[in-house]
């Protein structure tokens, strides 16, 4: 076992959560079905564009330009939004953002808001903050509704209720809808169309009476002050156009320089995420418009760890992410472990590089996330903004093991290296988990030529001392999958 364990580097907290998930047959079945379905559809949608690689490179370039001059673009954005009738607020952390939004809602005198799915507001725990202030936040995305009614957590960026099957969803609707508003119709079955209809009716009364809407945004155009929300169901349009007041909470990395830049992302995002040529609805608004849509618009620009991430020259590329979720769907670890094991609103490969940077590697779960990967590189291949996730993972592992200078809450601090034996323990535990579940390493492996480049032969820094004695195996020139089957799969 010691010979092969090193390639699957350790995860102190992740494996514990993952072990439970792997035991859950329903979850695993749902996840496998879902990730494989989207994966195949995505490949087809991408293949329709013969310039995909060039779009991907342009997406990367646009994001790099933005990040390297983020202060410039944020100021430009603020000016444009303000000129168009909006009000811009800046929040350094979650607490500040929650205070700003809560204050804005309270000033409207309303005690409820409708929300369109937004990862930024999940990240800061806005619903809980509003609840504490006596404001009820209704999630209106079907999957978020399922999650909210089920008193559950999302497990996938794009399909947050991917871990629930139709029977479970029916039960949740029947049991819980009544206490949140209009009850599910009598005799509700588990046909997806019937369930969607129940959600339509349940949510419509909320949309029609809503006075305050809360959203995130997929893009903000610095040059024009335009915000863009990409969606499928129409709940986004409802939240963005019917209320009198709209509050958008958006991470500072979502800015793009120009209107023209949208031509890249509006081609790559839908195909990467829902595997569609175009998603059913895209809304774009610039400040407020006379007699069309909300009369008041507030934009809350959120830092919350993003500038700390930006301060790391390697790690900052995680901020290019457009949240398409393609990397989740190809990840063999995610497929087996599910989204919840990542202990964050950002699951899968992107979560493994983003969460430890946004939150620091102080906690065990965050320190373990850079290890929640087999470094197979499939995530990099599908990423529409070409984030080399394995490279960032290795970089972050180095930081966990080696310690060093990082930025936390805007201050330079020196973190201590994880103690050698702690790191080692983590590796052993994770290896055990991986060996118990060889399927975790099975699907979608790429050829080893690339894999080998990012597999550290030794752990860097202080980790080296013990990795030397353990001799991390060199990954052979066959595919990772074949290699795995030959070395481990044969035993079973």
């Amino acid at each position: 076992m010691s010979g092969t364990s090193g390639t699957y580097l350790g995860m102190p907290a992740f494996p514990v959560a993952a072990r439970d998930a792997v035991r859950d047959e329903t979850l695993r079945g749902n996840l496998r079905h879902a990730t494989h379905t989207i994966r195949e559809k995505r490949a087809k949608a991408v293949a329709e564009l013969d310039d995909w690689e060039r779009l991907r490179a342009a997406g990367r370039d646009v994001k790099e330009r933005t990040l390297r001059h983020l202060d410039h673009y944020l100021v430009q954005l603020e000016e444009a939004v303000t000129a168009a009738g909006g009000t811009v607020h800046w929040a350094a952390d979650a607490g500040e953002a929650n205070r700003i939004v809560t204050g804005l809602v309270q000033r409207t005198g309303q005690s409820e808001v409708v929300k369109v799915k937004s990862m930024a507001t999940q990240e800061i725990g806005l619903n809980e903050a509003l609840e504490a202030a006596g404001v009820r936040a209704y999630e209106t995305d079907l999957a978020e509704l399922i999650v909210q009614l089920g008193d559950d957590r999302p497990s996938h960026i794009l399909v947050p209720a991917i871990h629930r099957n139709r029977g479970e969803i029916r039960d949740i609707f029947v049991e819980r809808m009544g206490s949140w508003g209009r009850a599910a119709p009598a005799g509700l079955g588990d046909d997806p169309a019937e369930l969607a209809e129940a959600a339509r009716v349940h949510l419509r009364e909320k949309f029609l009476r809503a006075k305050v809407g809360i959203s995130g945004a997929n893009f903000m155009v610095a040059e024009t002050g335009t915000l863009v929300v990409v969606e499928s169901e129409g709940n986004g349009r409802m939240c963005l156009t019917l209320p009198e007041t709209l509050i958008s909470v958006v991470g500072i990395e979502k800015v793009v320089p120009t209107w023209q830049d949208l031509e890249v992302f509006l081609q790559t995002l839908p195909r990467s995420s829902t595997a569609e040529r175009m998603n059913p609805y895209t809304s774009m608004w610039t400040g407020t418009t006379d007699s069309d849509g909300p009369r008041t618009f507030h934009l809350v620009l959120l830092d919350n760890g993003r500038t700390d991430t930006l301060a790391d020259e390697v790690g900052r590329r995680a901020l290019r992410c457009i949240r398409c979720s393609a990397c989740l769907n190809v990840c063999p670890v995610y497929e087996r472990a599910g989204g919840h094991a990542y202990g964050s609103v950002y699951p899968g490969p992107i979560g493994a590089i983003l969460s430890p940077q946004l939150r620091g590697t102080g906690s065990e779960v965050d320190a373990s996330l850079p290890y929640a990967s087999s470094l197979c590189g499939a995530c990099y291949d599908v990423c529409p903004v070409a984030i080399d996730i394995p490279e960032v993972l290795v970089h972050l592992r180095e930081r966990v093991v080696q310690g060093g200078e990082v930025t936390r809450n805007g201050e330079r601090v020196t973190i201590k290296p994880a103690k050698g034996h702690r790191g080692e323990r983590a590796v052993m535990r994770a290896a055990r988990w991986a060996l118990d579940h060889p399927g975790a390493l099975r699907a979608g492996q790429r050829l080893a030529s690339r894999t080998r480049r990012v597999h550290p032969k030794r752990l860097p820094g202080p980790g080296r001392a013990w990795s030397d004695t353990r001799a991390l195996p060199e990954v052979p020139e066959e595919s990772f999958r074949d290699w795995w089957q030959r070395t481990r799969g044969g035993d079973r």
Partner: protein, 221 residues
Amino acid sequence: MSGGRERVLARVRRALADVPRDERPRDVRVERGYRRVHGDRTTVQTVDLLAENLADYRALVHRVDASGLPRLLKRLLAAHGSRSVLVPPGLPPGWLAATDPALALVPDREADTAYELDTVDSVVTGCAVAIAETGTIVLDGGPDQGRRRITLVPDHHLCVVRVPEQVVGSVPQALGRLVPGRPQTWISGPSATSDIELNRVEGVHGPRTLEVILVDGGTDV
């Protein structure tokens, strides 16, 4: 609040200490080697592709010449069983000239509440531009399209596209034609969800029926 602003901007600037002071945004190269449009198509082929892609995402597509438009709209509204239809202020009056006198024409008024819109069966609009490669129609609040909400709350949307002049091949071409400041809604098929076991279900909150009418040869009837 301004405290937050200065703090965030200062953090951004500190984080970018590695970026040379004299580097300007445009010094960071963006290689735009991608295509302006995919494939070489005649105008007729572009319109055909639009029809094909609209239908692929379950919009109901109709083609008609200008003189036939009023009768087609009458027929489609009747077939849907509509008793009322929302009408944007600048919709060419001729379009609805042939409809059943019993059909209530509801103007797009600011004062109407969402509840009132919810009682209307259908809406008829024009569009700003349509994109063939993606099967998308774009509304930008122009006079023949009205406020965003009128194409959202009613359950049946009839959208008229003037072909070929309103049709472009690709997303880059569409963005070039649109005015950023206008509120926009890009629509590609009726609303849908795949949230339940990834089964696509059409019609969640937006109009469950989207009918797109491609009209040839001038529509100022």
